[in-house]
């Protein structure tokens, strides 16, 4: 049900092939770091649209806040002061899910349907199916997913799949005051990036370029960087992001073996449910906590 608007390409831990007939457009979000003023409008709009409210934190001596991604903060601005070529620069990068074409999180995920990749490129987490194992965290080359201590489920940017599904741009894109975040077909975004890179080169940034790393099959969130040769300057953006070899191993060799083990555990659980009924411990615990 309800898949009409977004065709699925891949589904975690599900061998069932996805429908192939339609070919929706591949989308991308382009973040032009060189026109980003770090105002955090995207952060706020993201939380507002997605009904997220992180706890009020504290200042640890930098502009960054919330200080890191969390189940309640799906995108954060990371500020870095550098002196490149003798010139002070304040590099501000909007961090969040890159929506990889070859998503390490999805590959690593053992729970069917917890991670979905739509044909348009969006990688979405479906918390209903998430078992909180944290494999997506280790599978992600960009350190994006966060497990909630509250419900033990993984959360991250959905690229506003609910908005994109009805033809709208993501909330962060719409709100961006300077147009540093743009959204469209991946092809269009690459063209926009080319124009920006040409402008930057003309202004003396010889190494300006697009960040769309091949090792993960390209991404559906791309950056225009002044120093594309040194992505690490931007609060540790990986120069060559790789899906962890452990995940590759898991997907390749070990999965059939592991599957048997999981199947055994699953059968045990299933029979436990049939014979003993659902486990109520969590709810009792909640009541206790409330008192």
């Amino acid at each position: 049900m309800a898949l009409q608007s977004l065709d699925i390409m891949r589904r975690s831990a599900s061998p069932t092939p996805a429908p192939e007939a339609r070919s929706p457009m591949e989308v991308a979000k382009l973040i032009d770091v060189t026109t980003c003023i770090g105002c955090k409008a995207c952060q706020v709009a993201c939380s507002e649209w997605n009904d997220l409210r992180e706890d009020v934190g504290s200042c640890v001596g930098v502009y960054d806040n919330p200080i890191d991604l969390s189940p309640q903060a799906w995108t954060v601005m990371r500020f870095e002061e550098t002196e490149e070529n003798g010139k002070l620069e304040w590099l501000i990068r909007k961090d969040g899910c890159m929506h990889c074409s070859d998503p390490g999180c999805l590959k690593a995920c053992p729970s069917p349907g917890a991670i979905i990749q739509y044909k348009n490129g969006i990688v979405d987490f479906h918390q209903e199916n998430c078992i909180g194992c944290g494999y997506c965290v280790s599978g992600c080359p960009f350190n994006i997913p966060r497990i909630s201590a509250q419900d033990n489920k993984a959360y991250k940017c959905s690229l506003c799949s609910d908005r994109v599904a009805v033809g709208q741009e993501p909330a962060c894109v719409k709100t961006c005051p300077t147009g540093a975040i743009q959204f469209g077909s991946k092809e269009d975004m690459k063209e926009v990036a080319e124009t920006r890179i040409a402008d930057l080169k003309q202004r003396g940034y010889d190494n300006a370029g697009l960040y769309d790393p091949e090792a993960v099959g390209g991404t559906h969130v791309m950056y225009v960087l002044h120093h594309a040769d040194k992505p690490n300057l931007y609060s540790g953006l990986p120069k060559d992001p790789q899906i962890s070899p452990v995940v590759k191993l898991w997907k390749g060799m070990l999965k059939p073996v592991a599957t048997l083990g999981i199947a055994a555990a699953g059968l045990f659980g299933f029979f436990h449910y049939i014979t003993a009924g659902p486990n109520r411990a969590d709810e009792d615990h909640d009541e206790g906590a409330q008192q």
């Binding site: 026109t35 409008a41 806040n65 304040w90 005051p177 999981i262 059968l267």
Partner: protein, 1016 residues
């Protein structure tokens, strides 16, 4: 097996890995395991509004629960940008994007409350009790202290012992009603946020160009070739307006930022250069000198459209830091010598050859010859090569086909030389021919969402709507003297000299005030207006309060305890009040000044006898009305939901108060009863005048049939005026604010127009309505040369077509005045030209001169050591005692906003509290190392007046500067914290700066003062 998704989830939760294993084994049904979160707005009700924070005036779409059906209670559940809005185009900054949490803040006020004297708690009361008690306080105080006549028998009708602050985020409709309410009561001790914000802009730009407003528009910034950002930080304070600077850059423009610290604007600029806070005139004076020395002047423009050729009075001089006419005992200038030499017809003499030694050009050249690049570097700390690059960039725009602009805000206004900072840049732009041009101008980026409107409506101590002055008891004791002094004569032949229409504006305004009671026989009720003896600006009225001369204080949508300088003085002053009335949608530190909050507010409630009323008002989302953005667009907004609890619109609160007061005066009489009883209050529900009624009054209407000289009826009695050209001085028209005339005509509400068609250069004349007369770029006549031909064929605003002026903008000119009539573009100036020499328009000199801040890190002024600080500063004895010296307080403190917050409001907004939760100060790495301070440490910053404690942000972005041979460290102090908050509690940053203001407008010197720093 059919399982709902919820059941499925439970099953899988029961056996943790069951889903995985069963699906992997192919045992599981193909039920959907993925579903996009449902789009939540599909049938929600959508209402258009305007962001309530800054003066970019971004368009909002507000979505409320329910589809508008009567049985559904509209509750706003989401807000995003309006993509149709020509400026914001769907964008919102972090404040706008978080508006939902403003509307639903836990700190919204829901019920009227009182804090009884000496107690330590709020007590809920009914609206009836609140209005009755406040009205009784007001009447008692007014009866005791009303001054009907001064010593000379001039009717002055003023009431000085109760003051009122008005709200620059409230609508025009609230503003105009407040104007009527206050003046009828005789209140002149009044101010709005404009005072602490852009007061100097109005003084400086009006003194130069004739009007005190941002010259161009937000979108027009995209037409610039060069953008100087100095005295402002638009990426931080006006992010969505800054969109258009980025658009310019994408088209090839260069952006340079000059600021004490490398800020968010600098992060995306082509170049940043540091400057010592408080030395801007040295920098800009240096630019003037460089432009003259390098002949980078648009001569045709300068000769035709400025007063460069005007000959100045022989008595004018400047020497050793003082202009002619200084009276040392009074600390004031006699400005009579700062004037033009007139011929026998009263016209100013000129020398088109510019050879006369006393022509403006030569005097200016001599004045700035002292500002050499070496002097600039020595006093500002800006590297010389960087300074010269700015000069070169600006110089390139001296040609007709290149245009530069300036974006500035409070970094220039909040100095004792605030108005003169702006004047210097205004002069540069005239020299370069950049005024009236698309992509040019002097762009004052205003603060609050309706601070422009409140200025337009005259909600300042000595103002009336439409930049008319409130009568002064000495200059204007009667109506004839008022008109004589405020109706200038042209100083050059053939000039439009628009202020020659003052009688029409003033009579129409008086007809609004007094209605049928205003007649030709009683001079339209002129005598009932209060008359001022001196300006009761915010600093003056706080000084009176501090001295115990003020009993009552009405605060409408303002948080003076946080906003005003020298918080400890403000707090002590409040404690001397008998009663305080705070009207606000939110809790404010002002209303809870009597609460003890430890070191941040160390007071004893039992000792404070002030009776404080807290009345809940609506916010933007819960009312209809108009607000004026920075580029003078009057934008109408629509109500999206009911206010929380018992909160009421300001108009209803004022209406109920006025009706209650009027009843008291009807029943009991009292001094000055006539000014209340004669006031026109013609609203359908007198206790709740509606926004529509008030908006129509601002536009004005015909009070009787209006005919042309032949007797043809132009307007019938009761019809809305088509614009201010229809105003009459015979009592047949009424208009509450002449410059707004045209906003609600017989064709309807022009402010609600939503045609965003771009007719060229980003101009959208069909969107909302702009004063004056829907002109979008001021002085646009100057976009064409003296012959009426556009300077730049790619930047055509209007041009002479042979019989009229026409183009993509409404001509800011007489539409049929041919170029050969000699009429010049600056129609509000009697000279018709822009002023390089400001004559007597400013109190501290016709040419800007550098004076040190009141607290100078140098302790001297190398340009003239005998006159260190501005000689025209107004300094109260109590503030003089509270000034610090550089040996005890060695560092320069400068306060500013962060983009995540808006003033002291958004600490009540959870989304913004999350984005920037805790108070901090910014310290350079060198100074931090000297003091052993690490990022994240708590530090104490103190001045002679108080201290704050905050976290340290240690940064490369603030560097020590070499100034006059010594090292000067600057400390950046963001201002947003307090104790009424959902963020981390903080100290009031305004404990630090002194309560001393700009010479012309008394805007406080928040941007340069002395502090000390230690690890806490």
């Amino acid at each position: 097996m059919q399982l709902s998704r919820r059941q499925l989830f439970k099953v899988s939760a029961g056996g943790l890995a069951a889903t995985s294993s069963m699906a992997t084994l192919g045992l599981f049904p193909t039920a959907a395991l993925a579903e996009v979160r449902q789009y939540k707005l599909t049938r929600a009700k959508e209402v258009r509004n305007t962001c309530t924070y800054c003066s970019v005036g971004c368009g909002l779409l507000m979505y409320s629960l329910g589809d508008g059906a009567k049985n559904a209670k509209a509750e706003i559940m989401h807000i995003e940008g309006d993509p149709d809005h020509p400026v914001s185009r769907g964008s919102l900054c972090p404040k706008g994007a978080g508006l939902l949490d403003f509307i639903h803040s836990p700190n919204r006020l829901k019920y009227p409350e009182v804090r009884e004297p000496g107690t330590n708690a709020w007590k809920r009361i009914s609206w009836h009790e609140a209005i009755e008690r406040v009205a009784r306080h007001m009447k008692a105080d007014r009866d005791a202290n009303f001054v009907a006549k001064n010593a000379n028998g001039v009717p002055v009708n003023r009431w000085l012992s109760t003051s009122m602050l008005t709200a620059s985020a409230s609508s025009n409709e609230t503003g105009i009603l407040t104007q009527k309410f206050m003046r009828a009561l005789g209140i002149i001790a009044t101010d709005a946020q404009a005072r602490v914000c852009h007061g100097p802009t109005v003084a400086a730009l009006a003194a130069t160009f004739g009007r005190g407003a941002m010259t161009n528009s937000w979108v027009d910034i995209k037409n610039a070739d060069f953008i100087l950002v100095m005295g402002g930080n638009p990426a931080e304070a006006h992010p969505v307006g800054f969109k258009w600077a980025i658009e310019a850059k994408k088209k090839g423009a260069r952006i340079v930022v000059v600021d004490p610290r490398f800020n968010r604007t600098a992060a995306v600029a082509d170049e940043f250069m540091p400057i010592r806070a408080g030395s801007d005139i040295v920098f800009l004076g240096g630019v003037i000198n460089w432009l003259i020395a390098n002949d980078k002047i648009q001569w045709d423009y300068v000769k035709a459209f400025t007063n460069a050729t005007f000959i100045v009075n022989e008595g004018f001089s400047f020497s050793e830091g003082l202009f002619s006419g200084y009276d040392e005992a009074k600390g004031r200038y006699d400005r009579s010598s700062w004037s033009y030499e007139l011929d026998d017809k009263g016209l100013a003499k000129t020398d088109p050859t510019l050879s006369h030694p006393r022509c403006v050009w030569n005097l200016m050249k001599a004045h700035y010859a002292r500002y050499t690049p070496d002097v600039v570097t020595d006093l500002t700390g800006t590297p010389k090569d960087a300074f010269l690059r700015v000069c070169a960039h600006l110089g390139e725009t001296a040609v007709a086909t290149r245009v530069g602009t300036i974006l500035y805000a409070l970094g220039w206004t909040q100095h004792t030389v605030g108005a003169q900072n702006i004047r210097t840049m205004a002069m540069i732009q005239l020299m370069l021919g950049n005024i009236g041009m698309p992509g040019g101008g002097v762009n004052a980026l205003r603060g609050h969402s309706n601070i422009q409107g409140l200025s337009d409506l005259g909600l300042l101590s000595t103002s009336l709507p439409g930049y008319l002055t409130l009568p002064n008891e000495q200059a204007h004791p009667d109506f004839a003297s008022y008109l004589a002094k405020n109706t200038p004569k042209a100083l050059q032949p053939g000039q439009l000299n628009y202020w020659s229409n003052t009688p029409k504006f003033m009579v129409s305004l008086l007809k609004w005030f007094w209605g049928k009671n205003a007649t030709a026989e009683n001079n339209w009720g002129y005598d009932w207006l209060p008359k001022w003896d001196k300006m009761y600006d915010i600093l003056q009225l706080m000084e009176m309060m501090y001295q115990g001369q003020m009993n009552g204080f009405i605060v409408q949508g303002f948080n003076p305890l946080t906003s005003l300088p020298d918080f400890n003085k403000t707090s002590a002053a409040f404690a001397k009040l008998k009663y305080m009335v705070v009207i606000d949608p939110m809790t404010t530190e002002t209303s809870s000044f009597w609460q003890n909050h430890g070191e941040a507010n160390n007071v004893d409630p039992a000792k404070i006898q002030t009776e404080v009323f807290r009345l809940p008002s609506t916010c933007f989302a819960e009312e209809d009305g108009s607000i004026v953005n920075s580029c003078r667009w009057l934008q109408w907004h629509w109500k999206g939901a009911e206010p929380p609890g018992e909160a009421k619109p300001d108009q209803e609160i004022l209406g109920e108060l006025f009706v209650a007061l009027r009843k008291l005066y009807q029943d009991e009489g009292g001094p000055g009863a006539e000014t209340i009883l004669n006031l026109s209050w013609p609203y359908r529900d007198p206790a709740s005048p509606s926004p529509e009624e008030l908006a129509k009054e601002m536009n004005g209407r015909a009070l009787s049939d209006i005919t042309d000289p032949t007797g043809k009826v132009l307007l019938k009695k009761g019809e809305q005026l088509p614009g201010f050209a229809a105003l009459r001085d015979d009592g047949s028209t009424m208009s509450a604010c002449w410059i707004f005339s045209g906003c609600w005509t017989e064709a309807g509400n022009q402010m609600g127009r939503r045609d965003n068609t771009d007719v060229g250069l980003g101009n959208t004349p069909g969107w909302s309505w702009s004063w004056p007369a829907n002109r979008r770029i001021l002085y646009n006549r100057a976009s064409s040369d003296a012959q009426g031909k556009p300077w730049d064929p790619k930047r055509v605003l209007i041009s002479w077509t042979g019989d009229k002026w026409a183009g993509i903008d409404v001509p800011d000119f007489k539409a049929d005045a041919a170029p050969d009539t000699g009429m010049n573009p600056f129609i509000m100036n009697p000279e018709g030209v822009g002023r390089l020499f400001a004559a007597d328009k400013l109190v501290d000199g016709p040419f800007p001169e550098h004076y040190e801040p009141m607290e100078s890190p140098l302790g001297t002024n190398p340009l003239h050591p005998k006159v260190v600080t501005s000689p025209a500063v107004r300094l109260f004895a109590s503030d003089k005692e509270r000034l610090g010296k550089h040996d005890e307080f060695p560092y320069v403190g400068t306060t500013y906003r962060l983009t995540e917050h808006f003033q002291f409001w958004t600490k009540n907004v959870r989304l913004n509290a999350i984005a920037q939760p805790e108070q901090f100060v910014e310290i350079g790495e060198t100074l931090a190392a000297e003091k052993g301070i690490k990022a994240g440490d708590t530090v104490k910053v103190s001045s002679k007046r108080g201290f704050i404690k905050a976290k340290a942000v240690v940064t490369k972005r603030v560097k020590a500067l070499k100034v006059n041979g010594k090292t000067v460290h600057q400390i950046g102090i963001p201002l947003h914290w307090g104790w009424e908050t959902v963020a981390k509690k903080g100290y009031l940053s305004n404990a630090l700066p002194p309560a001393i203001g700009d010479c012309n407008t008394q805007t406080p010197e928040y941007k340069a003062f002395l502090v000390n720093l230690e690890k806490a």
